[in-house]
Each structure stands twice: as structure tokens, then as C-alpha cells.
């Protein structure tokens, strides 16, 4: 069920340059079932900024009724979010969207998880779930520079992890696609989240492979009602368009025309 709840901030800290980790507590957590789902957050009670901000769920802790998200303080809304204090309440709508299909990977299989920048967070909960299920993940994570890297150790704990940075200040220099081309990993399917350019490159590179991509698009309602977040589909698909907020944000490779 989708709920609107004033959730309490129980943890909040900067974990990399302008990158914040925030943990929220509330009943809404119990409706979260899938990594890759997102929440829609109102950063202020005022009308300025007006719209909610979509942020992915990075990890779910049902036991303590908590979930964690990781976001980059960039524009007006996320900067205001970054100023919130522990103990304050936040108006959260969620969980929204479909999430990554864990059922698509079978125990014993190897999968690649490819993340770029603030596309990395949802892969964390995904990886945990996959590992729990006996799937072996290989993580390929791209960042702008050393200062922007986060959760490296957490991912290493779960499996093989490769870091690339655009400026080469940490890990290998280049893009995730450069590294993947070199690495040529064996895998049965891939899961990825990141900037649209990266998703396009990956979908091209692995055009004949099974994969699942999580997309971003500017949103209004976040619920599927306003047609703000539509993406054109490819000829392979029956429908003319999909909505990122309600049909996605995760789509099988080949569905969204990039």
C-alpha cells in the first residue's frame, strides 16, 4: 500500500562530498518490498519548493521500522533536505514504483550490478537481497571522483567490487562501461541504475543480454496520474510509452528507448 506519513529522522550524515545518508523511521517501511522502489519526499511545509523529490530506497530495516536513503545535495530541494536535523519529521509518500525483480536471478547465478553516482544506493539493498538468496553479485560502481565515493566497503562485504572514477582519483579511471569492456565478466543478468547516458551505453553494450535498468525522469505526482514522467518505448514493446513512476522505475532491458 502507498502511504503518506510523517516519518522521523533517526540518522543523518554526510558520507561523501555533498552526499548524505538519511535514515527514517515509520510504519511505511513495512510496505516496502523491493529494492529499487522509491519514496517521494516533501522537503518543506512551505510551497517553495513546491514539488516532492523522488529518492530511492537504499536499504530497508523492517525490524526497526527504518529505511535508509542516500542523496546528493545539489539543487534547492535536496540542499534544504540536507539541513534537516535528527529528530525532525519528514513528509514521505511511498513506497512507489516497482523495484528490481529479484526473482529474475536464481541461486548460484552471477549477476553484475552497475551503478553510477546517486544511482548506486538502490543497488545496495538489491545486492543484500541477492546475496541472501545465494546469488553472486559483481559490483561495478562509477563516481565522479574520490570525494564522491560512498559505501565502497559495504559493497565489498557483499561481493566483488570495482570502483571507477571519471578523474581517476580513486579506483580505475574512466566510466563503468570502460571497466566492463575490460573486465568482460561472466554473468546471467545485469541490474543497473544511474544517469540516462550510462543506462543507454549499457543497454547498447549488452543489447542481447538479460538486464534491468532503473530510470530517472522529472516527476509531478509520482503515482502515475499526471503523465509527467513518460518514456518512449522501443519497437520491441507493445505499449507506446511507460511511466517511470508507476510502471518503473525499473524496466527490463530493451523496453525504454534511450
Amino acid at each position: 500500500m502507498i502511504r503518506q506519513e510523517r516519518m522521523r529522522i533517526v540518522k543523518h550524515k554526510e558520507i561523501a562530498h555533498h552526499i548524505f545518508e538519511m535514515t527514517l523511521a515509520g510504519q511505511l517501511v513495512h510496505d516496502m518490498y523491493s529494492p529499487g522502489q522509491f519514496v517521494h519526499i516533501r522537503v518543506s511545509d512551505s510551497y517553495e519548493p513546491l514539488l516532492r523529490r523522488p529518492i530511492s530506497i537504499a536499504s530497508i530495516n523492517h525490524k526497526d521500522s527504518e529505511f535508509t536513503m542516500i542523496y546528493r545535495a545539489e539543487g534547492r530541494g535536496t540542499t534544504m533536505l540536507s539541513q534537516k536535523q535528527i529528530g525532525e519529521e519528514l513528509d514521505v509518500l511511498g513506497p512507489l514504483g516497482n523495484g528490481f525483480p529479484i526473482e529474475e536471478a536464481a541461486p548460484g547465478e552471477t549477476v553484475v550490478l552497475i551503478g553510477g553516482g546517486i544511482g548506486v544506493p538502490p543497488l545496495y539493498e538489491l545486492s543484500k537481497r541477492l546475496v541472501d538468496k545465494g546469488v553472486k553479485p559483481i559490483h561495478v560502481l562509477g563516481f565522479q571522483s574520490k570525494e564522491a565515493v560512498f559505501y565502497e566497503d559495504f559493497f565489498r562485504e557483499l561481493g566483488e567490487t570495482h570502483i571507477v572514477t571519471v578523474d581517476g582519483s580513486h579506483g580505475q579511471q574512466g566510466f563503468v562501461t570502460t571497466l566492463l569492456a575490460e573486465l568482460q565478466p561472466e554473468f546471467t543478468s545485469y541490474f543497473t541504475c544511474g544517469p540516462t547516458g550510462m543506462l543507454a551505453a549499457i543497454q547498447n553494450m549488452y543489447h542481447d543480454r538479460k538486464g534491468f535498468l532503473s530510470f530517472e525522469e522529472r516527476m509531478g505526482c509520482g503515482l502515475g496520474a499526471c503523465f509527467a514522467c513518460v518514456c518512449k518505448t522501443t519497437d520491441q514493446t507493445e505499449v507506446d510509452y511507460v511511466k517511470v513512476c508507476s510502471d518503473g522505475p525499473v524496466f527490463p532491458a530493451g523496453v525504454v528507448s534511450v
Binding site: Y47, E217, R218, C226, A228, C229, V230
Partner: protein, 303 residues
């Protein structure tokens, strides 16, 4: 006694609150959040004769206390709206106001003819004010003669009362209102969005792929309220007011200015429960104002 009921041409409203067209789809998404039968009515997304895929994305951009959109009337087309969306909505006890759009007069007439036969469509809302499509839409809404003719043509075929949705992007909205009244409109809905633009400061290019978009949300409320006030003085058909409504106080203001009912658009995105919340708060607000019935609010400003 139901203190909130309002009678309008074609519409027996339980309460004067309804989601505005394009901000509520065809209801399905919000039905997951609350019972749609609570609403006074539902204004469904613009319906055109053919399927429309709308404009390229980005289609929305945020502005100070407002947002721009250029959805471009994306909708599944008349046939599917009739067979799927309206059919599905029949399970709820709520009158539907069908927002009708098109490129040529013939398109409007064709859609109106069929959609007005639908069991739960109790009124039409002629969208002569969409700023986000190249032809049709707003072009009908800025010329009084054209607006009146379109109204008359649709009135001829419609089996339910016809409301005309006015554009605020005009020099004299009263003139357009009087024209559509003369053309036979049973009511007026207003306002549609103001044409606006946002640029990406770094690139200097428009954020919205379409270039311009329609401005809505609390930012436009003062303009909307002024226009409702002005039109209320000039026509005798009822007005459904909208533009920036987000709270029960906004509803009081629009009704005071002369609206008989109020639609809520953008605020649904900010707070998906805004419509039922306002409906729940209305009786208490009437008490605060010492009024028995919500209809006593209508036109208070003019008295």
C-alpha cells in the same frame, strides 16, 4: 441536511470539491489512496478523438510556489477512455466531468457527442485553453467569436450540460466568458494555466522540452481569484473555480469570489490526500464563519 451539497447544471455534488483535469488522470491512481466516492466530482484528463502521446520530456519544471507543465494532452483517445477508463469509474458514486479537447471544431464535436452519452459523464468541460499544444486548445480560448462558435457547436450534440474552460492568457477574460455564455455554455470552469517558461541557468535553454509550459499552483492563485471575481460579475452561469487551490481557506476564497464549486489541481501532487482533507475540514470552517451551508459562501465578496 448535507451542508456541503451543491446543485449545478447536470451535477448534483455531495460537496464542491473536485480534482482538476490532468492532475488526477482517470482516478485509478488516487483510488489506491482513498475512496473516490468522497469527491464532489472528478474532472478527468483531457480526452481527444485519437490517442495522443503528448510532448517530449522533460514535461514539468518547478517554479517558486508553482510548476510548469507541458504534458501535451497525452491520453489514450476517445475509444479507450469510453471502454476502459469511464467504465472502470462506474464503480464509484461520483459524477464525472469529461474534459474534451481537439484540434478542429469537428474533433471537439465528435468527442463531445460520444463521451456525453457515457453513463457517469454528467457534464463536459471544453478545454479551449490548453497552452501546450500547437493547434487547437488555447487558440479557441483567446478569441471570443471562435470560443462562442465552438461552444454552440458542442452544445448542439452534447447530451449533458457543457462547461467551458477559460484561458487566463487573455486581455479581457470577461469578454470571453460573456461570449461562451452567449454561445450557450451552461457553466464556466477557470482558470487553465498561465503560459510560462523556465530556463536552465547553465545552458540558457528551456528546461521543458516544449519550450514553454503552463504555470499552475499557489503562485497563480491571486490571478485566478481576480479572474473568477471579474467573471462572476459579468455572467449568470455558474463558475467552477481553480488555480492554486491547496487548502480549505483557498476554497473559501474562490467561493467568496463567486465560484460555485472548486477544483484542485497541482496540490494533488504535493499532498495526494488534499481533496478528502479539504472536504473533511469544510464543515468546521463553515462553523467558524457562522454559516450553515457551503452555498452561502458563493459570491460573498460581491455583497
Amino acid at each position: 441536511m448535507n451542508r456541503l451539497s451543491i446543485e449545478l447544471p447536470g451535477l448534483s455534488l455531495k460537496n464542491p470539491i473536485m480534482p482538476a483535469s490532468g492532475c488526477f488522470g482517470f482516478g485509478k491512481e488516487y483510488a489506491r489512496l482513498y475512496d473516490l466516492s468522497k469527491l464532489g466530482a472528478i474532472m478527468i484528463k483531457a480526452t481527444t478523438l485519437e490517442t495522443r502521446l503528448g510532448n517530449p520530456t522533460p514535461r514539468v519544471a518547478e517554479t517558486s510556489s508553482g510548476m510548469l507543465n507541458a504534458i501535451g494532452l497525452q491520453n489514450p483517445g476517445l475509444e479507450k477512455v469510453l471502454a476502459e477508463e469511464l467504465k472502470w469509474l462506474e464503480q464509484y458514486d461520483v459524477p464525472i466531468i469529461a474534459n474534451v479537447a481537439g484540434t478542429l471544431t469537428e474533433d471537439y464535436v465528435e468527442v463531445a457527442k460520444h463521451i456525453s452519452k457515457s453513463k457517469n459523464v454528467h457534464a463536459l468541460e471544453l478545454n479551449i485553453s490548453c497552452p501546450n499544444v500547437k493547434c487547437g486548445g488555447i487558440t479557441f480560448g483567446t478569441d471570443p467569436t471562435v470560443a462562442a462558435e465552438l461552444t454552440a457547436a458542442v452544445k448542439e450534440v452534447s447530451e449533458v450540460p457543457v462547461y467551458v474552460k477559460l484561458s487566463p492568457n487573455v486581455t479581457d477574460i470577461g469578454e470571453i466568458a460573456r461570449a461562451v455564455e452567449a454561445g450557450g455554455a451552461d457553466g464556466i470552469t477557470m482558470i487553465n494555466t498561465l503560459i510560462g517558461m523556465r530556463l536552465d541557468t547553465r545552458t540558457g535553454k528551456p528546461v521543458i522540452a516544449n519550450g514553454t509550459g503552463g504555470l499552475s499552483g499557489p503562485a497563480v492563485k491571486p490571478v485566478a481569484l481576480r479572474m473568477v471575481y471579474e467573471v462572476a460579475k459579468q455572467v449568470s452561469i455558474p463558475i467552477i473555480g481553480m488555480g492554486g487551490v491547496a487548502t480549505v481557506d483557498d476554497v473559501i476564497d474562490f467561493m467568496s469570489a463567486g465560484a460555485s464549486a472548486v477544483a484542485v489541481g497541482t496540490a494533488n501532487f504535493v499532498d495526494p490526500f488534499v481533496c478528502p482533507n479539504i472536504i473533511n475540514q469544510l464543515p468546521e470552517k463553515l462553523d467558524w464563519l457562522g454559516l450553515n451551508h457551503v452555498s452561502e459562501l458563493v459570491g460573498r465578496s460581491h455583497r
